[in-house]
Symmetry: C2
DNA sequence: TATTGTTATACTCTATAACTATA
DNA sequence: TATAGTTATAGAGTATAACAATA
């Protein structure tokens, strides 16, 4: 799950708050078209774990990804990256370690710290995941002409630059959460 | 979580299988650029639930989305859409109902069936979610010039058509899983 | 007998709080 | 005293298997 904020409990009546809304200016049809692609892209991306071997849970897979990104994080850093608290990350590592995907090691500098790294098998799993994602993207791109691909990459680059500008401005947001 | 296949248990040594790989033809830099944007897009999309009121869990939110898409699915149809088994969906509905987000009703045609629909509060929550996603996309698009937006929508439309062709060809895949 | 949904049981995942070890 | 991590406990989320009700 990975959220820090308290959630609605089963015995809790629930709260109020409309909120929502957004800036005008951008035509609705453009927004809708981009939304549709984003939605499909998110699906394409998340489907890459289908048939992965061994079939770890999405949560464990996400932890493997986070560890791969950081190389050798300590447990606190890993928890932060997952948007979880150290306790949860510790328990998750228990299971990952039991599954043979990660290894816990004592840090040399500060003996309180525990370094988490991927095992050989964990690295293999991560490679398979990234390979599958790349393959999925390639399969779609292969259907486009080189000229179309050129236009696509130009447009996406523009979008990504805009997104980064936007992202930099709204850093008061909460945790990461790849969910 | 929502997967049907057996997962690696904590007491299970784990399996083998390299796999991965993909079709050549498409240049690596193009693939990598698209991947980067897809990754960011998936993140943008999944972050829309930040600060939602009431703060339901991602799993419950996903169920709300599925119910909203279908209108009034029976429990089995909902489970199928979530990539879960009826038992899990039933338990999930217990919590959603307790939280006041959905309502269970007896079907008129077949008295074995249970129809699941959003409560007023559930619909409000769903509206807020879609509103937030739309706003997030708008904010990014607002940073682009109208000409850039035109190019973007053309490129995305091409990509989406290619994806749909691809998707139609690989329908032997398992469940949906938005994870 | 087949289908729809629920309940019993067990495991993963997560948070809060209390604890241990090191700094 | 503060920090890094673990353990105890409790609840959400899920699957398998056994069950009830309807077709």
């Amino acid at each position: 799950m990975t959220q820090r904020r308290p959630r609605l409990s089963a015995d809790d009546p629930a709260g109020e708050d409309p909120a929502g809304g957004g800036a005008g200016e951008v035509p609705d049809d453009v927004t809708a078209a981009v939304e549709r692609v984003l939605s499909a892209a998110a699906l394409l991306w998340s489907r890459a774990d289908q048939g992965l071997e061994p079939a770890v849970s999405p949560i464990q897979l996400r932890a493997v990804e986070a560890i791969a990104r950081f190389g050798r994080p300590n447990l606190g850093r890993l928890a932060e990256e997952l948007g979880a608290i150290p306790s949860s990350a510790s328990r998750l590592c228990d299971r990952l370690e039991a599954a043979g995907l990660v290894v816990r090691e004592n840090a040399v500098a500060d003996r309180r710290e525990i370094i988490v790294r991927l095992s050989k098998q964990g690295e293999r799993l991560y490679s398979e995941l990234t390979g599958r994602r790349r393959a999925a993207v390639r399969e779609v791109l292969a259907q486009l002409s080189p000229a179309s691909r050129g236009r696509l990459i130009d447009a996406l680059t523009e979008f990504d630059l805009a997104r980064e500008r936007q992202d930099a401005g709204s850093s008061e947001a909460v945790g990461s959460r790849t969910a």
